[in-house]
Each structure stands twice: as structure tokens, then as C-alpha cells.
């Protein structure tokens, strides 16, 4: 039972506002005083006396009045709100009833919106987690990375141990500064057992990233000395797998590569290392040896936390001062061209070009969302036409235009809210699909979860989309001409010029957007096709590679490695079906070493960083690369023999434009004639051959990179490691088996290698381009589909509206062909306008794609015209189908229908 027994009456006497409240109160109190004094007069008192007596008895009028008003205002406010809420509830109930009566309409609208919103939300999720909030640490805005700046803007995101220690000691800009080095170690006693990837960290690392162990303790100062007992902090995962999550694990021992470590702590489950996803399973102290401190190579990633109150100018001044001190302290090794330490954000270093790509993709999804909204608007407008009569009846019954408009908007919001729910779920699946498609470590697992920010984004997007659509529809569709709609019956009303115009504009917009997205996709597809067709200079078919991820113990000396390499190669060459075998320090399309070089006797002919690769004999032969001049590396170029090198063609041309480089000599590891560090001193190397420029950095490298190849056997011992093996064979299975067996038979303790076809390595190197291309193509196809549906909807509706007119035309002798032409012409007009607008838009916008293109300009005429043809064809089909139907109208039926 309702507490309010007279809701109807209350509403009739509904007080119009605060002013009404006041006059009501004074009326009521006045009535009382009046009544009282009447009573007194009746009792025989004089009128004035009676009135003052009544007032006296009443008490303090002003105070009472204001007290009463306060209550009334409260009542008034509450009732107005209750009224509004009631009205909303009624409208909502009505809306849901309407939608349930038209389930197909509701489903189509929800599906269309969900599509647009979830695509946008999925990309936003990626943008948010990769570009906007990538670091898993508290106060990430104060985290910076320190790297070394060379002349001509060369930058290495790393410091040498000596520089690190110097900055750690001297700089005052940081709250903390630390470095780390990844390692992989066998866990437990079995040497071929599972390995864990961990990091050696310097003191203060955990403070810099702002994380602490949840169990046990962090490293103490004493544990960062070389004599200290070995201690380790485990990740949650390793703690679980090794100790089953037992809290008593603290103080127990764990074996890493056979050495016992005492477990002193366990990190929280949320612990991650942003820049090296997998390297956080175990932490041990990093202590630099004197040799490491003497090494000039910048090989340590340095992370620091800025002081909260420090300004950019203060930071610059601090870095400059410390750099000057450093040069003063080490005059003999600091090269003149050093530009000192530079601070970089995580986004700059690890996100880089990715961020612009992601923003572009977000823009693309925004377009898809607009398209989805346009289609929904179209659908709603069409439906509102068939609801004209309903609106008219409601208007006639006293519903204002506002009330009907509110109904329309509310309907859209209900659909939008449902779509937002579905889109949230779909976007999570979408993010996973995107990550799978990118086939790289695009997002960490923890970043794939639903995030409040993403949720807010999705909800707001859905609400904004449905409000805008609802508003447009209610503006256009609620203009009801009562007499016309009611008089003409349910059908026959043409919907008005206004509606027709709005719908044409929508179709034009859709075509324009589809055009832009298709151009984007077309350009990326063309780029990808061109890249795939690029000749890298080496063969990719029939080449198979094997990489040993980690050597067992005993491979510390160069001699053992060379011996192992020779035996594996011998085995491979003896295997039937293998037509070539070689070894290399790094595989094509993977990064090699970067070393400076000076020509012997020409200290000015120098390079800051050359690509340095070491190979076994017959490497070029196996890879299908033919020497331009000179000889290949042979078995006789071994250790102790004169040092030799093969160089790339563009390198040869740069320094010896008019003569043969054969016989010339280089000083590797020297910059402007000065050694960069003790490990790199070597006698001059003689150039023995020249090979064509290879695209072995990346397929899309525009400039050939100066490269030098040296024999595996002549690598400075400090740089020797187990090489990758390469074979040539016609059968993939045979090649893989041969590689695995040769390695396992040579040393059974060796882990099973990762075997890959060169075609896969090439394809893998294009994964990011494939990713952007596929994504853009998906969006463009979505856009095309939505546009097609939109055009079809508009034309089909126009045909339905004009059945009568078409019937008359046919009855008067119009041929079916001319009817089709008429309908198609009218259907295509907004499309053509849209195409032209879209073309202009594409010309303006495609420039943002420039860095993602290869071999085509952003205004590639072929791509543009191909896209226009595709779109026009689809539009034609979409309007032809309903046009055909129109031409088959039975004139008798059409005329009789009225």
C-alpha cells in the first residue's frame, strides 16, 4: 500500500515552487489567526481586541513561519524528485516494453553499438596500458632511465658500471638510482632441469621501483659485497613452484646453477619488471667486480626515481655537473664526443613508435564507432517513421514534444547501457586477440585485466554515443504533424524532407568514413605486399636455423665453444639431405653487436657504430649470398692466423669509391683511432672480400648499414658465445631433426634448441606491420559492412515509402529498367558525395600513416582509386537489391493498398 493516499490530488495541487510554499504557509497561519479571532468575536470580544488576543496566543509568528517553511521546502524538494523519478520509471517501463515487442530491432541496435564500442574500448585499453600508464610501479611519473648520449644523436639506453657508480655517488637529482642485469639459471639439482629468469639488482633497486617483499625482507647493505653469503628473493610464482607457497621457505636454500642461495624474501604477486617482462622470477644482489668497473661498455640498464620537488632545469644542471666531474676524473677514456647522460621516460624508450600507431588505431576505431552510431541513427529514424502514429496519439493525449523526445533518448540510453555491458566483455576478448595478433610482448598478462579507467571509458563512450544518437533522432523525428499523421493512417506519410535529408547526410558521412578507413587499410596492405616481395639479399626458402638458448656449464672458454661449433657443423654436413651448414653469432634480422671502427692510417675515416657479425666458413654460401669481389672466409682463417674481415658493398663504396678495398685494413673497436675499452683491442684486420648490401637488419631498412663480418674463430675471446646454426635443406622436418640431433649428440647436456625456418624469421620481423595491417583491414571491412547496411537500409526504406508512386509509374508504362535506374540514382547520390568528401579526408589524413608505409606514398593513386571502386561497387549493390525489388512492384497491389 502506498503511504500517500491522494497522489492524484497532491499532483493537482502540486506547489509550483518555493514562492508557492511561502504563500501557502502564510495562508495557513492566517487562517488560524482569523479563525481564532472570529471565535473570540463570537464570544463577545471587540474585533481589534480579538485579533491581538489571537496573535498573542499564537506566539512568535515570524519564528513559527520560518520553521514551517523549512519543513515545507524539504517536503517540496523530495516530492518533486519523487515525481521525476516516478515519471522516469514509467518511461523506462514503457521503453522496455517497446523494445521487448521489437526484439530484432533491439538486437540489431545493441549489436551494432557493441561492435563499435568494443573495438574502441579494446584499442583504448591497449593505449591506456601501453602509452598512458605502462609502468607497474607507484608514482611512475618520477621513474626515468639513464642512458649514454653520443655524437650525432646516437643514444644507448645503458651505462657502464663505472658511469653508473659515478652517477650514483655524485648526482643529487634522484631519490634513488639502481641498475640490474638479467640472468637465467637452472633451478634445483638437475642440470637439465627447468630454468628461471631473474635479475641481479643493485642496492636500492626495490626502493626505486617502490616495491617490497611481502614475506621476509629486502637485501641488506652487507649483502651487496662480494664476500657476503649468497641470498635470493623469490617471485610469488617461483615461491609457489619451489616451496608450495610455504611461509617457512624464508631461510631455506635454493640452488641456482648449482650454487646454494638462502631465500630471504618473497615479492608480492603484483611484482613485475616493466622493461623485461619475464626476468622477474628471482632477484639476487648485483656486485660489480673490479674488471667490470674498468669496462667502458654501456651494458647496464639504469633506472632512477627523481626527487619529488626537482625541476627540469635542476636536473639538467645536475647531469651537466656530474658529467664534467666524470670527464675530469677519467680524462683518458672519456671520448670528446660524448654528450653525457640523458634521462628518458619509459614511454620514450620502450613504447616509442608504437604509441603513434596505437593512437592511429584508436582514431580508426573512433571512426568505426561513428559509423555504428550513424547506422543506429538511420535505423531509429526509419523506425520513428513507423511510430509517427504512436507519437501523434501520445501528443494528442497531451504528451509534450519534450516528453516524447525524452522517451526516444531514454530508449537509446537503455540500448547503450546494454551495449556497454556487452562491449566491456567483448573488449577484453578483443584486447587478448590484439595481443595474440601482435605476437610479441605487447602487454603483460596483468595488463589484460579489466581496469577501472577502461571501464569508465567504455561507459562514457556508450553513454555519449547513445545520447548523441538519441538527441539527433528526437530532434528530427518528434516533429509530429498531428492532423496529417492521424488522418493519413498508419502508412503513406513520406517522412518529410527533413528526415530524408538527415538520412542522406548520414549515408554520405558513412561513405566518407569508410573511404578514409579503406584508404588507410589499402595503403598498409600495399606496403605489406611490397615488403614481402623485397629481396633481402639472402635466401629465405629452404634455410633453417637453431638457437641454443643457454649453454650448460663448461662453455666459459672460447676454445670449448669453437670445438663444440666445429663438431656440430661436421655432423650437420655429414647428414644426408643437408646441402649446407654454417654458424653465426647472430641470425639475420636480429641485432648483432655495435662497434666503432677506424681505418688503419686514416683516423678521420671512422664510424661510431658499425654492425659487427661473426660467421663460420660457408655462411654466405649457405645463405645464398654471392661475393662481389675477393674471397670468402675459409677454415684456414683460424685463431692465430692473420685477422680478416668481409665488408658490405656500401661500406666499401663509401671509403674506397674508386679502388678495391681488398687488402685494406680496419681497426675494430676503435673510434677516431682510440680504443673504446680494454676488451676490444685487436690488431688491424685485413679486408678479404665484399658482399652485396643485405637487408639483414630489417626488411624495410631504407639505408644499407655498414656491416663487417669476421670469422667466428677470430672473435675476441670475451665476446665468444654459443652460435646459432644454419642449414640449407629442402625438407623442413629433416632440417629440424638434423639440427636437434647434431646438437644433442655433440653435447647431451645441451638444451633442445629453438628451431625456426628463415621464412618464419622474416615473417616474424614483419609482425608489427602485419599487426597494424590486419587491424586496419578489420576496421575498414567493418566500416564497409556498416556502410553497406546503411545504404541498403536507406534505399530499401525509400522504396517501401514510394511503393505507391512506383506502382503508378509502372502502371503508366515505366519499364523495370528505368525504375531500377531511378532508385539506384537516388541511392547513389549521397554515396558519391561521401566518396568525394572521403577522398579529400583520406588525402589529408593518410599522411599520419607515412612512417608505417613502405614503397607507397600516402597519396598512392592506385590505392586511392582501387578503394573508390570497391566502395562504389558495394554501394551500387546495396542500392541495386532494393531497386530490383521496386521494379517488381505489382501496380495493382500497390495502388489498391491505399
Amino acid at each position: 500500500m502506498s503511504e500517500h493516499k491522494w497522489p492524484g490530488l497532491r499532483r493537482v495541487f502540486r506547489i509550483a515552487g518555493i514562492r508557492q510554499v511561502q504563500s501557502d504557509v502564510s495562508d495557513e497561519l492566517g487562517f488560524h489567526i482569523q479563525g481564532r479571532s472570529d471565535e473570540l468575536v463570537a464570544g463577545g470580544m471587540a474585533r481589534d481586541e480579538a485579533e491581538s488576543e489571537a496573535r498573542r496566543r499564537f506566539g512568535d509568528y515570524r519564528r513559527i513561519e520560518s520553521e514551517v517553511e523549512r519543513f515545507d521546502r524539504d517536503v517540496h524538494r523530495r516530492r518533486t524528485m519523487a515525481d521525476r523519478f516516478d515519471a522516469l520509471r514509467i518511461d523506462l517501463r514503457y521503453t522496455i516494453r517497446m523494445l521487448r515487442r521489437q526484439p530484432i530491432f533491439a538486437v540489431v541496435v545493441i549489436a551494432t553499438l557493441t561492435l563499435g564500442i568494443s573495438a574502441t574500448a579494446a584499442i583504448y585499453h591497449a593505449v591506456d596500458r601501453i602509452v598512458l600508464h605502462p609502468l607497474p610501479y607507484p608514482h611512475p611519473e618520477r621513474i626515468v632511465y639513464l642512458g649514454w648520449n653520443w655524437e650525432r644523436g646516437n643514444y644507448a639506453n645503458a651505462l657502464s658500471p663505472r658511469k653508473f657508480e659515478f652517477w650514483q655517488k655524485e648526482s643529487r637529482a634522484f631519490e634513488g638510482i639502481a641498475t640490474s642485469k638479467g640472468f637465467e639459471a637452472v633451478v634445483g639439482d638437475d642440470a637439465t632441469g627447468p630454468t628461471a629468469r631473474g635479475m641481479r639488482i643493485t642496492a636500492g633497486y626495490l626502493d626505486v621501483i617502490g616495491m617490497r617483499p611481502v614475506l621476509g625482507r629486502a637485501f641488506s647493505k652487507e649483502e651487496f659485497t662480494s664476500a657476503a653469503p649468497q641470498v635470493a628473493i623469490l617471485s610469488q610464482a617461483l615461491w609457489m613452484s619451489q616451496f608450495g607457497g610455504d611461509r617457512a621457505a624464508i631461510g631455506r636454500s635454493i640452488r641456482l646453477d648449482g650454487h646454494p642461495y638462502t631465500v630471504i624474501g618473497v615479492m608480492p604477486a603484483s611484482f613485475e619488471v616493466a622493461e623485461s617482462t619475464e626476468w622477474a622470477q628471482v632477484l639476487v644482489p648485483l656486485v660489480f667486480t673490479p674488471e667490470q668497473l674498468a669496462d667502458g661498455g654501456n651494458n647496464y640498464t639504469v633506472i632512477a626515481r627523481l626527487r619529488a620537488e626537482v625541476s627540469p632545469t635542476q636536473i639538467d644542471a645536475d647531469m651537466g655537473r656530474v658529467f664534467a666531474d666524470y670527464r675530469a676524473a677519467y680524462p683518458e677514456t672519456s671520448q670528446k664526443d660524448d654528450r653525457g647522460v640523458r634521462l628518458q621516460t619509459y614511454q620514450n624508450l620502450f613504447v616509442g613508435g608504437l604509441s603513434s600507431t596505437l593512437w592511429i588505431m584508436l582514431g580508426a576505431t573512433a571512426f568505426v564507432l561513428v559509423l555504428a552510431c550513424a547506422n543506429v541513427t538511420n535505423l531509429l529514424l526509419a523506425r520513428s517513421l513507423s511510430r509517427q502514429r504512436e507519437f501523434a496519439v501520445r501528443t494528442a493525449l497531451g504528451a509534450g514534444r519534450g516528453r516524447i523526445a525524452r522517451q526516444v533518448v531514454l530508449e537509446m540510453v537503455v540500448l547503450g547501457v546494454i551495449a556497454a555491458f556487452l562491449a566491456t566483455a567483448a573488449s577484453l576478448a578483443g584486447v587478448r586477440a590484439i595481443v595474440a595478433l601482435a605476437s610479441g610482448s605487447l602487454l603483460r598478462e596483468s595488463q589484460l585485466r579489466l581496469d577501472p579507467r577502461v571501464l569508465v571509458f567504455t561507459t562514457l563512450t556508450a553513454l555519449a554515443a547513445s545520447l548523441i544518437v538519441g538527441m539527433i533522432v528526437s530532434l528530427v523525428a518528434t516533429r509530429v504533424d498531428l492532423t496529417k499523421s492521424l488522418a493519413s493512417g498508419a502508412r503513406g506519410s513520406v517522412g518529410g524532407k527533413r528526415q530524408t535529408m538527415v538520412r542522406s547526410v548520414l549515408v554520405s558521412t558513412e561513405s566518407a568514413i569508410a573511404m578514409i578507413l579503406l584508404v588507410g587499410a589499402g595503403l598498409l596492405i600495399a606496403s605489406f605486399a611490397r615488403l614481402n616481395a623485397v629481396d633481402p639479399g639472402f635466401q629465405r626458402e629452404g634455410i633453417f636455423t637453431a638457437v641454443v638458448s643457454r649453454a650448460p656449464s663448461g662453455y666459459d672458454s672460447a676454445a670449448t665453444v669453437w670445438q663444440f661449433e666445429q663438431r656440430v657443423l661436421d655432423r650437420l654436413r655429414a647428414t644426408p639431405g643437408i646441402s649446407g651448414a654454417a654458424a653465426a653469432f647472430t641470425l639475420p634480422l636480429q641485432r648483432g653487436w655495435n662497434l666503432p671502427m677506424t681505418l688503419e692510417g686514416r683516423p678521420d675515416a671512422t664510424e661510431g657504430g658499425m654492425e659487427w657479425r661473426s660467421i663460420s666458413p660457408s655462411y654466405f654460401q649457405t645463405m645464398g649470398v654471392r661475393l662481389i669481389t675477393g674471397r670468402d672466409i675459409t677454415e684456414s682463417d683460424k685463431r692465430g692466423a692473420p685477422l680478416v674481415a668481409i665488408i658490405s658493398q656500401s661500406f666499401a663504396k663509401r671509403y674506397w669509391p674508386n679502388q678495391s678495398p681488398i687488402g685494406q685494413r680496419l681497426l675494430l673497436g676503435q673510434y677516431k683511432g682510440k680504443s673504446i675499452g680494454p676488451g676490444f683491442d685487436e690488431p688491424p684486420r685485413e679486408i678479404i672480400g665484399v658482399v652485396p648490401d643485405l637487408r639483414d637488419m630489417s626488411l624495410d631498412q631504407t639505408r644499407p648499414r655498414s656491416t663487417v663480418w669476421v670469422p667466428q674463430a677470430q672473435v675476441p675471446p670475451a665476446m665468444v658465445k654459443i652460435p646459432a646454426f644454419i642449414v640449407r635443406a629442402t625438407d623442413a622436418g629433416l632440417a629440424a631433426d638434423a639440427l636437434r640431433h647434431a646438437i644433442a649428440e655433440t653435447d647431451p647436456r645441451m638444451r633442445a634448441p629453438d628451431v625456426a625456418a628463415m621464412t618464419d624469421i622474416v615473417s616474424q620481423s614483419l609482425s608489427w606491420r602485419r599487426f597494424t595491417m590486419v587491424l586496419m583491414t578489420v576496421f575498414a571491412l567493418l566500416a564497409l559492412t556498416l556502410t553497406c547496411i546503411g545504404i541498403y537500409g536507406v534505399v530499401a526504406y525509400a522504396v517501401a515509402q514510394r511503393t505507391h508512386e512506383i506502382g503508378v509509374r509502372i502502371a503508366l508504362g515505366a519499364r523495370p529498367g528505368s525504375v531500377v535506374a531511378l532508385v539506384v540514382r537516388q541511392g547513389m547520390r549521397p554515396v558519391v558525395i561521401g566518396l568525394l568528401v572521403g577522398l579529400a579526408g583520406a588525402l589529408a589524413l593518410s599522411r599520419v600513416l607515412t612512417t608505417m608505409l613502405y614503397g607507397v606514398g600516402p597519396r598512392d593513386p592506385l590505392s586511392l582509386s582501387a578503394v573508390a571502386v570497391v566502395l562504389a561497387t558495394v554501394a551500387f549493390v546495396a542500392s541495386y537489391v532494393p531497386a530490383r525489388r521496386a521494379s517488381r512492384v505489382d501496380p495493382l497491389k500497390a495502388l489498391r493498398a491505399d
Binding site: D27, G59, Y61
Partner: protein, 117 residues
């Protein structure tokens, strides 16, 4: 209206609600009628500051115990009429039982002999 000595009892704090609710339980009334009813049925013994009635009425309306509407008196004058809602009726019962327990307790105290303590 009769001698000043008659209305010598001040309304106890918190009992005005009870008086108003009980009065309105007989039917819808305007403020003055409520007051007159109270005067008549308490035989003029209670001294009420008349104006204080109105904040009480409006407060109880705010709380949802009373419902109000404008209507006309028998002689055709416009007045605001109050009546009890279901919640008001529940409130009345609560107040009544509270009052009964209170006056019973006070009665015990008055009747009690000194020996008991």
C-alpha cells in the same frame, strides 16, 4: 473561553506529537480544528502555545506521518487539511504504547512505599 486557571498544564516535551496524531486519527482536520479538538477533549486543561502546532504538523508531514491537502471548510473558507498516513498510524501506536508504559512507571513510583528502597 474560561478562567485563566483552567489551562495550567504545560504540554510535556514530546507529547505534542501524540496529541496531534491521536486527534487526526478521528479524521482529516485543519490546524485550528486540531487545536480546538485538543482543547475540548483535554477540558481546557493543557496550555498550548498555538503557533507551535504548525511546525509540528509540517514536521510530521515531512516525515510522512501526515498527508496534507488544501480544501474548504464548512463555511467555504480555504484551509489546509491534514490526515494520518499509514506510517502516521503506526507512529501513533508506538507513541501510545510508549505513553502507557511511561505513565504506568510514573504511577508505580508515586504509589511506592518508602520501605521498598
Amino acid at each position: 473561553m474560561t478562567p485563566a486557571a483552567a489551562n495550567d498544564l504545560e504540554v510535556l516535551r514530546g507529547t505534542l506529537d501524540l496529541l496531534v496524531l491521536k486527534t487526526l486519527s478521528w479524521g482529516s482536520m485543519h490546524g485550528l480544528a486540531v487545536l480546538q479538538w485538543i482543547e475540548r477533549s483535554t477540558r481546557q486543561r493543557l496550555q498550548i502555545e498555538e503557533g507551535a502546532l504548525y511546525p509540528a504538523l509540517h514536521r510530521m508531514e515531512d516525515k510522512g506521518w501526515l498527508d496534507a491537502e488544501w480544501g474548504h471548510t464548512d463555511v467555504g473558507r480555504r484551509a489546509k487539511f491534514y490526515r494520518l498516513t499509514a506510517a502516521g498510524r503506526r507512529q501513533l501506536n508506538a507513541e501510545l504504547s510508549k505513553w502507557a508504559r511511561y505513565s504506568e512507571a510514573v504511577g508505580w513510583l508515586i504509589d511506592a512505599s518508602g520501605a521498598q528502597s
